[in-house]
């Protein structure tokens, strides 16, 4: 594919289109939009900030005519490379489109523009006694547009699913610069192909989301939290499976292995049992009477599979104390070494113990610092590799280990990504999960939507011979 570089004439045309926003071309600005939360730096030719959907659509028309790549971007917290301008061209900073946030109680929906922070939606819904369930850990800084593009998850995914499960309608700019609506404001809507679901999670490769209708649910009355401590990681995995097959559906179920606990204790002593192999944190939500019984039951089930201790929080304060351990894992582990590779390979719940064993083997085989924590309840473990990108030898071992992690997940019937998306980082492994024909079907959809390949190129689909490179 031959994309064209931006010329002075293009820039003049862009400036004539953008009447209400800003066109940024200074070197300092271009570098400031060259990165995200993953790896790599790619310089865009120009960055555009406008709240006007019409102006954006006109810019996409220009891009399509001239074969200039465009990249929608929120606040760039992406861990997979989603917003990176890998082929140069125009970055659209949609974080400025943050003015629509309506809660319609009677329809149980929220209508939002893409630059609204996800946490703002949480807050607005809660004020009306409602809940927008997807809660990525970055929700106080990530935009809903980015969440929609990457199909973000979060700890509550176990009970409530991911972003796509709560989107019923979209306004989208197509790669040819048309503005279309998909879905609508009704929960039941079976008219034609489900383009809404197709676009959510398409990582900006099929269009630019400029508005979304989100489904809300009533906010659960109360929560209960317990912590179960295990002398074996595999036992912890079994406890998760046992609880989930017992008829209890926790809202969150998070796992910390020994390496995570040790890191947290060194960072801020909380009194975690560092001699134990793992702990799981369980949150239940619902009616207060049901919660009390379910918490007891979850504690007993944990003990039955070998938990050496179970702590149940008595009040909100104790709940917050128990969750503090989970909150501190990310900051704590980067104190060990500067580079963090955060993976989100996901396996079916029943395979959690086996995945834990495979991860232990990978850690030993490649001699790497591998920490396992994450949303174990939905099979979405976060194996994090803590390394130093200035050590090329270590980084080569990390590359191999990452490939092995993906292989293990797929072999166990799982997937490359539970919530971060594919982006640039996992594109090389797509065929491994989907097979050549499966991947080809996706490519044909992309080809039909975006014949000139201008929409967020370089993501999801690997280029011939593309490999994971971290060094």
């Amino acid at each position: 594919m031959n994309w064209k570089a931006l010329t002075a004439d293009h820039l003049t045309e862009i400036k004539s289109i953008v009447a209400t926003g800003r066109v940024l071309t200074d070197e300092s600005d271009r570098y400031s939009y060259s990165f995200d939360g993953s790896f790599g730096t790619f310089l865009p030719d120009v960055v555009i900030q406008t709240k006007s959907v019409q102006e954006l659509a006109a810019l996409v028309k220009l891009a399509n005519r001239e074969k200039i790549p465009v990249y929608p971007r929120g606040q760039s917290t992406s861990l997979s490379g989603g917003p990176l301008p890998v082929k140069g061209g125009m970055v659209f900073d949609l974080s400025v489109m943050n003015d629509v946030l309506e809660i319609h109680e009677e329809d149980l929906v929220a209508v939002v523009s893409p630059g609204v922070l996800t946490a703002e939606i949480h807050k607005a819904a809660e004020q009306k006694g409602l809940m927008y369930p997807p809660d990525p850990s970055s929700s106080h800084v990530s935009t809903i547009g980015g969440n929609l593009a990457e199909n973000s998850g979060g700890p509550r995914g176990l009970k409530y699913g991911v972003t796509k499960d709560y989107v019923i309608g979209l306004e989208v700019i197509t790669p040819e610069g048309e503005i279309i609506q998909t879905g609508g404001r009704t929960v039941k809507n079976v008219t034609g192909y489900d383009l809404t679901k197709l676009i959510v999670g398409s990582e900006g490769t099929l269009g630019i989301i400029t508005k979304a209708v989100l489904r809300l649910i009533p906010k659960p009355q109360q929560t209960a939290t317990l912590m179960a401590i295990f002398d074996s990681l595999v036992d912890a995995g079994s406890a998760i499976s046992k609880i989930l097959s017992s008829g209890i559906l926790p809202s969150k179920m998070e796992l910390l292995d020994q390496a995570s606990m040790t890191a947290v204790e060194q960072y801020e002593p909380l009194g975690l049992p560092v001699d134990a192999a793992a702990l799981i944190l369980i949150e239940l939500d619902g009616h207060p009477l049901a919660l009390r019984e379910e918490a007891q039951q979850a504690a007993e089930l944990s003990r039955a599979v070998g938990a050496r201790e179970v702590r149940i929080a008595k009040d909100k304060k104790e709940e917050a104390e128990l969750w503090r351990a989970r909150k501190l894992v990310s900051p704590a582990i980067v104190r060990i070494k500067p580079t963090k590779i955060s993976e989100d390979a996901t396996v079916p719940r029943s395979k959690i113990p086996e995945m834990c064993e495979r991860l232990q083997a990978i850690r030993e085989r490649y001699g790497i610092h591998l920490v396992v924590f994450g949303h174990a309840g939905d099979g979405n473990l976060h194996p994090n590799i803590i390394c130093d990108k200035s050590d090329p030898d270590e980084m080569r071992r990390v590359e191999q280990a990452v490939a092995e992690i993906f292989k293990a997940a797929v072999e166990l019937g799982g997937t490359l990504s539970g919530e971060h998306g594919i982006g640039t980082m996992k594109a090389p492994f797509m065929e491994m999960e989907l097979g050549a024909c499966g991947l080809d079907m996706m490519k044909r959809i992309k080809q039909a939507w975006d014949p000139n390949q201008i929409m967020n190129p370089g993501k999801i689909f690997p280029e011939p011979g593309q490999k994971l490179e971290l060094s």
Binding site: E27, Q49, R335
Partner: protein, 438 residues
């Protein structure tokens, strides 16, 4: 000759940028990012620019100039950062590197030299500035200037500030300040009071009230001679050597006092004082002395909260909000005590502002050198301040005090909203008056 990449990396503290995982958690707390709406003005963006220099992708440091110039240095990003990036250190090193290479125009160079190297560090000159303000006020020049409209035409928008400067203290009174004030009750501590340069020139009255409050609370208060400017303005302007020199002079002056604590009443100065240990960490002769000095440094609210301010008279129906000093919050980490002290005044209603931790845009001399940017940030702050419907806004730093007064003035609220330093408000409630009030 151009420095090697390695030398440049060391100069800019490139290694410290590696801790930044670009998660963006700093974005919502950064006043310049939220106000100007550009990643270029975010901590993550600025750190990335330093990375780009360290990796050889940017070779011209002038690309970094505006983004680093427009940083307020409030360091809210450090408080929000999950991985502990030392942003303040990166900021100072980068500014110093830019200043080293920059050719200022002759008048700017002379002004920088005069202000940073001669005026702020000199007690004599700062006193003179204080005297001039008094003369300016008493001679009728102030009235004339205001009436003629000349004030509005002063350079750097100084006219805007002219309207809000506090009432001046006479040279006689300034000269009569005692060097040793005894505790009014059983002595708990001996404290050495850090007078500050601007604080003492412009807010002499607040300094006197501070000393009286400390004495009421049970402290013997010493005002040690030979103390000088804390060096914060120098460090923020990239003049690190000058800052270190001033630090050493202060350490020497206060060591002699043997006080239990060195007490200040200016959030920005206090932040510098608690960082002397870092500032002189590479200096073998001074490392330990600097660390010992920093360990003794306290904000006045910490001492007053511990010792207790006696007899606070009830105030009727006053709604009070508190504009936090960034440097007190993010560097000294003193957040609890000022609120406790305000709440201890009977009869007041305390209302916390939304986004209370957001900078007001004062930031040393930022509001003078980047007036327009500063006013944009202030306007955002005033939206929150107005929402509280408070009749009193409390601050704990001279810069914030002036800035919030300016904000109140700009909003046309000067008739209904008072802006006070915490010390003034406590003194008022405790019935303490400075002699200039009589």
């Amino acid at each position: 000759m151009e420095p090697t990449r390695q030398a440049l990396r060391e100069e800019l503290l490139y290694d410290k940028t590696n801790k930044c995982v670009q998660c963006g958690y700093c974005l919502p707390v950064c006043p310049t990012y939220t106000t100007f709406g550009k990643e270029t003005h975010s901590p993550r963006g600025r750190i990335n620019l330093v990375k780009m220099v360290g990796e050889g992708r940017i070779s011209d440091l002038s690309v970094l100039e505006e983004p680093f110039d427009l940083c307020l240095g409030c360091r809210a990003c450090e408080t929000a950062c999950p991985t502990g990036v030392e942003y303040g250190a990166i900021l100072e090193a980068t500014r110093a590197a830019i200043v080293r290479r920059k050719r200022f125009t002759v008048p700017v160079r002379l002004l920088r030299k005069a202000m940073l190297k001669k005026v702020f560090p000199s007690r004599k000159l700062m006193n003179l500035a204080g005297h001039s303000m008094w003369l300016y006020e008493k001679s009728g020049l102030q009235t004339a200037l205001r009436r003629s409209g000349v004030a509005e035409k002063l350079p750097y928008n100084l006219g805007a500030f002219e309207a809000i400067v506090p009432r001046a203290v006479s040279p006689g009174e300034r000269g009569s300040a005692a060097a040793h004030v005894r505790s009014r009750k059983e002595k708990k501590y001996t404290v050495a009071f850090f007078t500050g340069c601007i604080m003492d020139a412009m807010f002499h009255r607040i300094n006197r009230l501070s000393i009286q409050l400390l004495a009421e609370a049970g402290c013997d208060v010493l005002v040690v001679p030979n103390q000088t400017c804390c060096g914060a303005l120098h460090a923020h302007a990239g003049e690190m050597e000058e800052a270190r020199e001033l630090a050493k002079r202060n350490i020497e002056a206060f060591e002699a006092s043997q006080a239990d604590f060195v007490v200040n009443n200016a959030g920005g100065c206090g932040a510098m004082l608690v960082e002397y240990g870092h500032l002189l960490a590479e200096d073998d002769a001074w490392r330990e002395r600097a660390a010992a000095f920093s360990a003794k440094s306290r904000d006045i609210s910490q001492i007053l909260a511990e010792c207790g301010v006696p007899q606070l008279a009830p105030r009727a129906n006053e709604r009070v909000t508190y504009q936090r000093s960034c440097h007190m919050t993010n560097v000294q980490k003193v957040t609890r005590e000022p609120v406790e002290l305000i709440k201890s005044i009977p009869g007041i209603q305390y209302i916390e502002m939304e986004q209370a931790e957001m900078c007001c845009g004062s930031a040393g001399i930022y509001n003078i050198v980047h007036y327009d940017a500063s006013m944009q940030i202030l306007d955002e702050k005033m939206k929150q301040a107005k929402k509280t419907d408070a009749s009193v806004i409390i601050t704990t730093n001279p810069g914030c005090l002036l800035q919030m007064k300016l904000g109140v003035e700009r909003e046309g609220l000067s008739g209904s909203v008072r802006v006070l330093h915490l010390v003034e408000y406590l003194a008022e409630a405790a019935g303490i008056t400075a002699s200039s009030d009589k």
